[in-house]
Subunit: 247 residues, 2 copies
């Protein structure tokens, strides 16, 4: 990580990035740079668009920042491992938090699923996307996690690519060692990490999950974990065993 | 975990627990049971004191809950692995969160350490203890994590038992695989898991850490993790490699 500049402000822009390109800023971006970060014309920030890597850019604009001039590339585009975070959504602030943490932990896709004991029946996808962008900006991430619309668990299972490994955490599993199981798993086709609702899976949901090919049913220790804690813990184990925490 | 009752309210009481014992409730406990949980005389809860396991208890009291009558033991006292969470404290709500997560993840001791880039210079230890108790109550944990007073990093290192493994996360480490290193580590003497400030360790602090015997310097992947995320992730890896997530 020595190449990462931890301190420069980073901004996601939805435009092609090339040397000399000029990009117009949207009002909320202008406000963020000018009023929140107190930057003005000439100030430098880092920009990314999820495709072209990271670039240094200079702020332009007389009264307030209204554009960016793209200067030079600082980092090439990289790729996240194919790890999707599939989760029973929570309410409001807890959902914001879960989205941010999943992005920090390197999930490339966020898929809310609705189960019997899920706390909410719909989610604000735009808010999820905004949280995903902000987490990527703040944590030096060059890819933008895809935010999918919520679906019922059975429909998710029916439509998903069954060549993917399905890792799910189940409080009903006897405590067993997760790492050897993960380290031995076949994950070349991608991984779905499923975190269920805090009320647990219903019996028929558990049965449906266990009927999927390539499932790995994990216990996350002998204590109860809240959903947001379980998410970070499960992703840490998956990244360390199968993802890009392996150096 | 099938023996855990996920739904019964749990209360920490600082009194011996034996069949037939009667325990007086403190005002805030009475308020919690009566007004928040809306329980009254005859209602059952689970109680623990960190020493005698978990017991079923009946609420007593005419106008409001004022005591508990201890009925029968539901779980024997267990022990947490000897994993201390040593961390640069954060502000207020973020500190509450870090304490709760560390307890959920099974830390037996919480030790704030002050470093060059730590955000705060003091912590509210009573508030930390209250958060530790609440997390134990909500997550079915029978032991009470010890909350230590903050100390400067150099004093912590000077006073600690050097037979303990010191795991610290360092953004300056090149990305390497944490799991093989952890799985090979010698941890019989206990483990200190150190999460530094978000600004990173100062050079002299890093040098001091690397001079400690039995250190394991971990990278938590190629992305920047916020301190609370890093804490859960590090504890997940330590518990899975060396702790009680091994079945």
């Amino acid at each position: 990580m020595p190449d990462l500049d931890f301190h420069a402000p980073r901004l996601f822009v939805d435009a092609p990035l090339r040397e000399g390109e000029r990009i117009a800023l949207e009002r909320d971006q202008s406000n963020y740079l000018g009023n929140v970060l107190r930057l003005s014309a000439g100030g430098n920030i880092l920009v990314f668009n999820g495709r072209d890597g990271e670039w240094r850019a200079a702020i332009e604009g007389r009264k307030r920042p209204d554009g960016l001039s793209i200067i030079a590339q600082t980092r090439k585009q990289d790729r996240l491992p194919d790890i999707a975070y599939v989760f029973a959504p929570l309410k409001h602030a807890r959902l914001d938090y879960v989205v941010q943490k999943a992005v920090e932990m390197g999930a490339c896709r966020l898929q809310p699923v609705l189960t019997r004991h899920t706390q909410v029946s719909r989610v604000n996808s735009e808010r999820m996307r905004a949280n995903a962008i902000e987490a990527a900006e703040q944590c030096g991430i060059l890819s933008l996690a895809e935010v999918a619309e919520p679906v019922a668990l059975d429909r998710f299972l029916d439509r998903r690519d069954s060549a993917r490994l399905l890792v799910f955490c189940d409080e009903a599993t006897d405590v067993a060692a997760p790492m050897p199981a993960l380290q031995a798993a076949e994950a070349a086709g991608g991984i779905d990490v499923l975190i269920g609702p805090e009320g647990g899976f219903a019996e028929e949901e558990r049965a449906l999950l266990l009927r999927q090919p390539k499932t790995l049913r994990l216990s996350l220790g002998p204590r109860i974990l809240r959903a947001d804690t379980a998410g970070v813990a499960a992703l840490a184990l998956v990244q360390a065993a199968l993802g890009d925490w392996r150096g």
